[in-house]
């Protein structure tokens, strides 16, 4: 089982190079600061809403709005951390091995090249999944414990966050089969930026009923379907704040002001991951080392 050997090796590498412990340590520090900040601010808001709003329902709605905004802001920051971690930890997974020549003693062992790609992918995917669940789960748990507010589609939302990380790391592994570590990193962040802007264009154009601009934005967004997954996750997780008012959903200032992306984006992302993996395997198999 060479895939598992490579996956275990990837995990051990992260542990030995202190990447894992630093990631967990800083992640926990991030959660601790968020918990403290949220607790103090939420307490302050609770006291002021008691004065500002007369009715109990209005008070609860205001508090839910505040908790929702905090949860979504926390998840928004986590999203950027996930983007960074997914790309930075995998950007040299293959290209670094090639440039340092360590790959030569591995590829000449009795295993097939696709096993190396799959093993690396599996190891990184498990670590990124753990990291995403730790941070997003932590944010959601803190908000729930302090305010009692829980997201709606929790499991599906977490699944989308994980899928977002996997989209990024798969594209990163594909790039690493042909590009140098630095070139791969630059290309990935540029494409991410392109997709991010594409998401804005799509949402704004859609609100203005401009079909051409919507299509262009959507197309750019699909180059790296990570941002669109984040938007969908935010929409389906955003707690129901009020039954009467149209104020549900993620706060618009987090660039999620448009409509909820269609469920088909999930299928698109899954196909995207599969296609990137096949391309990575094909590209690495053809590569002279």
């Amino acid at each position: 089982m060479s895939i598992l050997t490579i996956a275990r090796f990837t995990f051990r590498e992260a542990r030995r190079r202190r990447l894992l412990w630093l990631g967990i340590g800083l992640g926990l520090a991030f959660l601790a600061i968020f918990a403290l900040g949220f607790y103090l601010v939420y307490d302050e808001i609770r006291r002021s809403t008691l004065i500002a709003f007369a009715g109990q329902e209005a008070q609860e709605t205001a508090l839910k709005l505040a908790a929702n905004a905090f949860m979504m802001m926390g998840l928004f920051v986590v999203n950027f951390l996930v983007v960074l971690v997914s790309i930075l930890t995998t950007v040299g997974a293959i290209s670094g091995e090639i440039s340092s020549h360590t790959i030569q003693a591995i590829v000449t062992k009795p295993l097939r090249r696709w096993e190396i790609i799959l093993g690396r992918w599996l190891g990184h995917a498990l670590m990124v999944t753990f990291y995403i669940l730790l941070l997003t789960g932590g944010i959601i748990l803190i908000v729930y414990l302090v305010s009692g507010l829980a997201p709606r589609a929790l499991v599906a939302g977490l699944g989308l966050y994980v899928l977002e990380g996997i989209v990024l790391l798969t594209a990163s592994i594909l790039g690493g089969t042909r590009l140098s570590t630095m070139a791969n990193g630059v290309v990935l962040f540029m494409v991410y930026g392109l997709a991010f802007i594409g998401g804005w264009v799509e949402q704004i154009a859609s609100a203005l009923n401009s079909q051409t601009a919507t299509n262009i934005g959507a197309l750019a967004g699909r180059l790296l379907p990570s941002e669109v997954l984040w938007r969908r996750a935010s929409h389906i997780m955003a707690p129901r704040v009020s039954s009467g008012l149209d104020i549900d959903g993620p706060p618009p200032f987090l660039f999620t002001f448009g409509r909820e992306p269609a469920p088909s984006v999930v299928l698109y992302a899954l196909v995207y991951v599969a296609a990137m993996m096949l391309l990575a395997i094909w590209s690495f198999r053809k590569r002279d080392l």
Partner: protein, 310 residues
Amino acid sequence: MTSNDNSPAIATENLRKRYGKKVAVAGLTLCVERGEVFGFLGPNGAGKTTAIKMLLGLVRPTAGEARLLGAPPGDWRTRREVGFLPEDFRFHEWLRADEFLDVHGQLYGMPKAERQEQIPRLLKLVGLQDDARRKLGQFSKGMLQRVGLAQALLNKPRLVFLDEPTSGLDPMGRRLVRDIIRQQREEGVTVFLNSHLLSEVEVTCDRVGFIKQGQVVRVADLHAMVEGDTEVELRLGKFEPTFLEGLNQFGHDVRANGDQVTLFVQGEEQLPAIAAWIVAQGVKLYALTPRRLSLEEIFVRVVGQEGVIQ
């Protein structure tokens, strides 16, 4: 799957590799029999490492055929029986020496019990038994070379490629590599040795192949070649230019400088015949001095010549 025992360890037919317009290997035709230690010699940039990489499936040939233990170079099952010490090898510096060998043992598909038996034995063989738990990042270049050698022998290979195994090693280390190669030969292992250190090749190899501009220009039995290539220096009395042409029948590269004449002959058995012929020509012979060529001199002569000799 096991390899075909009757096939040569390595067989290539007009193997070529081109990177864009640059031809790295122009047409390598080579046969290495099982159980022999084969030296692969050539100047820098001759295509030696590219040739090894093609044989190991690291680089895809542009054209030509190759067989390793009877199987195509890319065949992953055959690699169970192949060991490789890369030239510019780097291993993961965060691993300890024993962990490094364990990971590579796992990649060979070796069971745990076999790894536990092999790893201490090999670390002892390469003189690193006291450094098993040190990280590779703390190793000197020579120590890395040794642990790399242990890695290449981990799976008890039937064919092992050593690409510059003595670079970075001190005299003791070089001697160790020599002894290990000899031991491998005694165990019937085929060793394909790429080295710049011709003195090493001279004492360890059975046969050598000279490669130049991506082509094998000569393959020869090393011992026979070292004995066979003899330079003869003659000090003569007056002679006619046609006399030099007559000397060509005994050897090649006849050159005259005043009363000094040099030529290269195959073996010392010809020396009495040369002396008799000179005297019969009426030329006075004051001195006839044979001098065996070192592998280095042969190397310079072979790779210095244009075209394919053999």
